[in-house]
């Protein structure tokens, strides 16, 4: 008799551990979602089904402004970071291996490695100095900060897409009278589009739910949705926070599903 190959699924307790892990992952989120439909004024005691908290959140001026601010920042940050990430990815992959390639990758992905709180404090100090020196206020600081930490998230899917692309395609374009710009515009860019879209969506999601850096960099009256919620938690907790969280969760899941479909659909 041949022995069966080792499989973790046949270890004793595998099923139980798996179920426990899934409960740990999803029980809090399910609770959060369920209580967002609570008619009562509590996040822990069920008082019947209601959409009141969604309506309240929707009609809350502060929530509205925070939501709009979040979307504006995420849109600009995703746009800028994707543009920069595309340039970086084209620059690092559309050529042979070069000296210091790994160092460049590491440097581009710096935000993934530096603790977020460190970046937050650093930005607070830097932007504080700039504010004092120039007197310039506004959302620009937040957009700049978000752009910076979104770059690696946009960069990775774009680079992955480029690495899967035959270098001889651009050579063929050049052979067929395309100038370097035409080759990029008519060959590289259309083939890269799914990667760019995926990168932008990922960057958008990352920007949308950032708390730490936003909390440090924002000025008074510049709450985004996550920092507004953080502020609310310091006061009385109502299921309104649950409702906002659920809305944010749905938006994020939709975007990430889109990201998944784009990256999967174009790979084969």
């Amino acid at each position: 008799m041949a022995t069966k190959p080792f499989s973790v699924t046949r270890l004793p307790g595998f099923g139980a551990i798996a179920i426990a892990a899934f409960i740990a992952l999803y029980a809090p989120i399910i609770t959060l979602v369920v209580y967002s439909f609570n008619a009562a004024n509590s996040v822990a005691i069920w008082g019947g089904f209601s959409l009141d908290w969604y309506r309240l959140a929707w009609e809350n001026d502060q929530v509205q402004q925070a939501a709009i601010r979040s979307l504006v920042i995420a849109t600009f940050a995703a746009g800028f970071s994707t543009l920069l990430a595309t340039l970086a990815a084209v620059g690092t992959t559309r050529r042979g291996r070069f000296k210091g390639q790994t160092i460049i990758y590491v440097m581009i992905n710096q935000p993934l490695m530096v603790p977020e709180i460190v970046t937050a404090v650093a930005l607070l100090i830097l932007f504080g100095a700039i504010r004092t020196a120039t007197g310039i206020q506004g959302l620009g600081y937040l957009i700049l900060a978000h752009t910076a930490f979104c770059i690696p998230f946009a960069y990775l899917p774009i680079r992955a897409r480029l690495e899967g692309m035959d270098m001889s395609l651009e050579t063929a374009a050049a052979d067929l009278y395309a100038t370097p710009w035409q080759a990029f515009r008519h060959v590289t860019l259309p083939l890269l589009a799914p990667g760019i879209l995926a990168g932008a969506m990922l960057a958008f999601v990352i920007s949308l739910d950032d708390v730490i850096i936003t909390e440090f960099v924002k000025s008074a009256g510049q709450d985004t949705l996550p920092t507004y919620m953080l502020g609310q938690l310091r006061r009385a907790m109502t299921p309104e926070v649950n409702a906002i969280s659920t809305a944010l969760l749905v938006l994020t899941v939709l975007l990430l599903t889109g990201f998944f479909l784009i990256t999967r659909g174009r790979q084969n």
Partner: protein
């Protein structure tokens, strides 16, 4: 009166910090309308030379001329030369028709002209039915045709083909070989064809350049290359060859077996002789030019290959249509005579 399409003047290409020499002062002149083949084993520099002509590589030294004008420094998009890539490199996001029209569009031809030329090209490679397909929906042979049509559409002065048939199976390869010949005679465009397949080179080319280690070994018609190889490399690489060591003495040579044969203009000193197996004939023992012993004989259907040992132990192969001693072949260890056909002995340069 022939005009020159492509001329390479002492083209040298070094890679890395100069330690790898891919091309070593290669000079070559390819005539207008010629089917010219660069033949050699992998790493001999044939593809590098092709890439230098296309403009994907810049020679370290030397010049490349297209119809007499120096294009050494021109980028690929400024050269009226198109390439059929080994991987085809079809644009996956474009249809067959868009792929074929790409070069014309990039060159700035107007849409009507692009459409008309694309249709002509689709007809030329018999792919009219596939115009709106994507490359991934095509078979290897069909992709090959699209790659050809795409490269021919802008009517280049020279078409470069980088081992375009290597990815196809044998039957399809034979088909595409005659297809390529047809396309070349219909368009009249100069073809520069790279291959490591000697049979492909012999059957398709007007002229062949045999390359090895970045150097040209011999340039000539398939017949010249086959019947009059200049050196051991060419004789060995193209077809099967017997090599005989000999001592030249003016108008005769003395083989390592001690036999002396007349060979006008043999020169003096030690030489290597090349003899094609089909130019050797078995005779009765004691007749012919040499004596030999049969080591083995193998039936190939179209002919027999007899492996023979000469008196000094040198092995030679003779090829013949029918066995000399009846249908049963010849027995091992049997002594035979060996005769050279007129002109069979070729003196090699090195």
């Amino acid at each position: 009166m022939t005009t020159t399409a492509i001329e390479a003047r002492a083209v040298t290409k070094r890679f890395g910090a100069g330690e790898i020499t891919a091309l070593d002062a290669v000079s070559i002149s390819i005539a207008q309308g010629e089917f010219f083949t660069l033949l050699g084993p992998s790493g001999c520099g044939k593809t590098t030379l092709l890439r230098c002509i296309a403009g994907f590589e810049t020679p370290t030294d030397g010049a490349i001329l297209l119809s007499g004008s120096d294009i050494t420094a021109s980028p690929p998009n400024k050269r009226n030369v198109n390439t059929v890539f080994q991987s085809y490199a079809l644009f996956p996001h474009l249809t067959v028709a868009q792929n074929i029209g790409f070069g014309l569009k990039m060159r700035g031809d107007d849409a009507a002209k692009v459409d008309k030329r694309t249709e002509e090209m689709l007809a030329l490679v018999k792919m009219e039915q596939m115009a709106s397909r994507r490359p991934e929906q095509l078979s290897g042979g069909q992709q090959q045709r699209v790659a050809l049509a795409r490269a021919l559409a802008p009517a280049p002065e020279v078409l470069l083909l980088d081992e375009p048939l290597s990815a196809l199976d044998l039957k399809l390869r034979k088909e595409m070989q005659s297809e390529l010949k047809r396309l070349q005679s219909e368009t009249g465009i100069t073809f520069v064809f790279v291959t490591h397949d000697q049979e492909e080179a012999l059957t398709m080319s007007d002229r062949i350049a045999v390359m090895s280690h970045g150097q040209l070994q011999q340039v000539g018609s398939p017949r010249e290359i086959y019947t009059r190889p200049v050196n051991r490399f060419v004789a060995d690489f193209i077809g099967e060859t017997n090599f005989l060591e000999a001592e030249a003495k003016g108008d005769s040579v003395t083989l390592s077996t001690g036999d002396t044969l007349p060979l006008p203009g043999a020169g003096t000193g030690p030489i290597t002789l090349a003899v094609r197996p089909e130019l050797l004939r078995l005779t009765e023992p004691g007749e012919g030019d040499l004596t030999a012993t049969v080591r083995d004989s193998v039936y190939f259907g179209t002919d027999w290959h007899c492996h023979l040992l000469l008196s000094d132990g040198t092995e030679v192969v003779a090829r013949m249509q029918s066995p000399p001693t009846g249908e049963s072949g010849i027995g091992k260890g049997q002594p035979v005579g060996l005769a050279f056909a007129p002109g069979a002995l070729r003196v090699l340069e090195d």
